[in-house]
């Protein structure tokens, strides 16, 4: 079960007030959406589920979303509760009454962890791992082939430590990962410094000059004499 704090972009161009999306510690999933226009079809579900607040008469036209989680989030919970209360006291009496009613008597919602969904999730995992089940000797052959292909370019630290892992990722399905400790790159394939003189990389534009007429750029270029790369600022018209 993952816990997400989600922010919706505001309607009306108040970009500076929107919060970013952050992933907080894993706990139950909660969405707290706060809509501006007169959304009167609200459903307040039990604590861990959605809650939409109407905000017909709100003065602060910001859009924020926040969630309530478990005990490890105490400081953020207090912050969120404050903001929540701030919005609530601005609502009309009837709105607050309906909100309280819904909190006290939540309606039945579609259960996220219904048996069918659990079964489907388990079946997906088991089908992926069954379909891509590979024998031990095939694993060894894969490892040997990969070591052979890679040792042309790098020197491998120790062949015994090379491992093949089969795992199931949620989106990608079955993942094969081969971990190889590498000591160093073979000399003929190492980056030669002469190729990189004057190479400009890592360019950052602070000001592209469209509005102010000034260009403010930061970039790196490579000088082989000193090991560290140098940085230059250029501003001009």
């Amino acid at each position: 079960m993952s816990f997400r704090v989600e922010a919706l972009g505001p309607v009306g161009g108040f970009e500076e007030e929107s919060l970013g999306v952050t992933e907080v510690a894993p706990s139950s999933e909660v969405h707290f959406h706060h809509f501006r226009s007169g959304a009167s079809d609200l459903k307040v579900a039990p604590k861990w589920l959605q809650m939409k607040l109407p905000n017909i008469n709100s003065r602060n036209r910001s859009h924020m979303c926040f969630g309530m989680g478990e005990n490890k989030l105490k400081p953020t919970v207090n912050q969120d509760a404050e903001v929540f209360l701030l919005n609530v006291v601005n609502m009309s009496f009837l709105d607050r009454l309906s909100l309280a009613w819904r909190m006290l008597f939540p309606t039945a919602k579609v259960r996220k962890n219904s048996n069918a969904k659990i079964a489907k999730q388990r079946l997906k995992m088991i089908l992926f791992s069954d379909r891509c089940d590979i024998s031990d000797e095939a694993k060894q052959k894969i490892i040997n082939n990969v070591i052979g292909a890679l040792s042309e370019f790098v020197e491998i630290d120790s062949q015994d430590k090379v491992q093949l892992n089969v795992s199931t990722g949620t989106d990608l399905g079955t993942l094969y990962s081969v971990t190889i400790p590498v000591r160093r790159v073979r000399p003929e394939y190492q980056d030669s410094e002469e190729d990189y003189i004057g190479n400009i990389s890592n360019i950052e534009y602070k000001d592209t000059g469209e509005k102010s007429g000034n260009i403010d750029v930061k970039f790196d270029f490579f000088l082989p004499s000193d090991q560290s790369k140098s940085v230059n600022w250029i501003s001009g018209n």
């Binding site: 009613w101 939540p106 069918a116 069954d130």
Partner: protein, 321 residues
């Protein structure tokens, strides 16, 4: 012979093999006339697609999901449509298809005796009196020692002998596969060109069905259709059982039929009177018959979502709760 019941599921009014009628005034329209008369006919029959004889193996992997029931009922439905069907019980050790069809008393000769030369093939085929187009062939007698010699080649020989018999090849050969994926399974799938995978919507059966699909495709059988058996719509609606849409999504096979859970199945097994012969027809019987229709025409169905229960309005519903 009872006529097929009107199809309750939405479907094409004309069978897929006949072209849609074109309205050109003045031209003779023999196809249109045939199509119209086919639609108006009460007891019209499905049109056979594919080359005869069609050898279909009914398999599942997991035991107890309803392979033998499906073989018996689909076979009998096919026979009632007018096609000649031979049902083969490929379980050499434990056979049950004769019990389901009610023919257990009449089994004298089996395929093992045919191979030994003790009897002819037509003596081993048991014809059902209720429906003469259906014939049953058992592999071995239960009391004899396990026939170690009955392998894939033997069964393929039997099917070829059926194909080239003097009374004409049957339209369908349904092979009832034993449970599991060992030698019996390999024997049963050897002569088959198509497969009918029977499964239930629970996680164990689906895992085994997936494994069996992989084995069938390895063996060269690409035409695999699925029948989902023992479906309980009340559990699906309450989100306790996976829906047929989920099953189809997980396995990725074409769906031939959805058979609801019906207590009539047990009753008819005990009586030895197959389900599809019941008058009035039961839900499961109708579903089997529609599955047989689709098997003949090589058609598939699409699963539909089970309707959710309408939300019960609370007392203070004006609050939106």
């Amino acid at each position: 012979m009872a006529s097929p019941f009107p199809r309750l599921l939405p479907s094409l009014p004309f069978s897929p093999s006949s072209p849609p009628p074109r309205i050109f005034p003045g031209k003779p329209l023999p196809r249109l006339r045939a199509a119209v008369s086919a639609a108006l006919q009460w007891n019209r029959k499905p049109q056979l697609a594919g080359e005869t004889p069609r050898v279909v193996v009914v398999t599942s992997g997991k035991g107890g999901v309803g392979k033998t029931t499906t073989t018996a009922n689909v076979g009998l439905s096919l026979a009632r449509f007018g096609f000649s069907v031979v049902a083969v019980d490929a379980d050499a050790g434990l056979r049950n298809l004769d019990l389901l069809l009610g023919l257990e008393n009449r089994v004298n000769y089996t395929a093992v005796e045919v191979l030994n030369g003790d009897c002819r093939l037509d003596q081993a085929l048991i014809r059902d009196r209720r429906c003469p187009s259906l014939e049953l062939l058992c592999i071995s007698k239960p009391r004899s020692k396990l026939p170690l010699g009955f392998g894939a080649k033997a069964l393929t020989w039997v099917v070829d002998a059926l194909r080239s018999r003097p009374s004409g090849a049957p339209h369908f050969v349904l092979i009832d596969c034993p449970a599991g994926i060992d030698a019996g399974f390999i024997t049963a799938i050897a002569p088959a060109n198509e497969a009918l995978l029977v499964t239930t919507p629970d996680i164990t059966a689906l895992r085994d069905a997936d494994r069996v699909t992989g084995l069938l495709e390895c063996d060269g059988i690409r035409d695999i259709k699925m029948v989902v058996n023992r479906v309980r719509t009340d559990l699906i609606r309450g989100e306790d059982m996976m829906s047929v849409i989920d099953v189809q999504e997980m396995l990725g096979l074409a769906l031939l039929g959805v058979i609801p859970e019906d207590s009539e199945v047990i009753k008819s097994t005990n009586r030895g009177y197959p389900l599809v012969l019941n008058k009035p027809p039961t839900v499961a019987g109708l579903a089997f018959e529609q599955a047989a229709w689709r098997l003949v025409e090589q058609d598939t169905m699409t699963a539909v979502m089970v309707e959710e229960e309408p939300k019960k309005k609370g007392f203070f519903s004006f609050f939106g709760g």
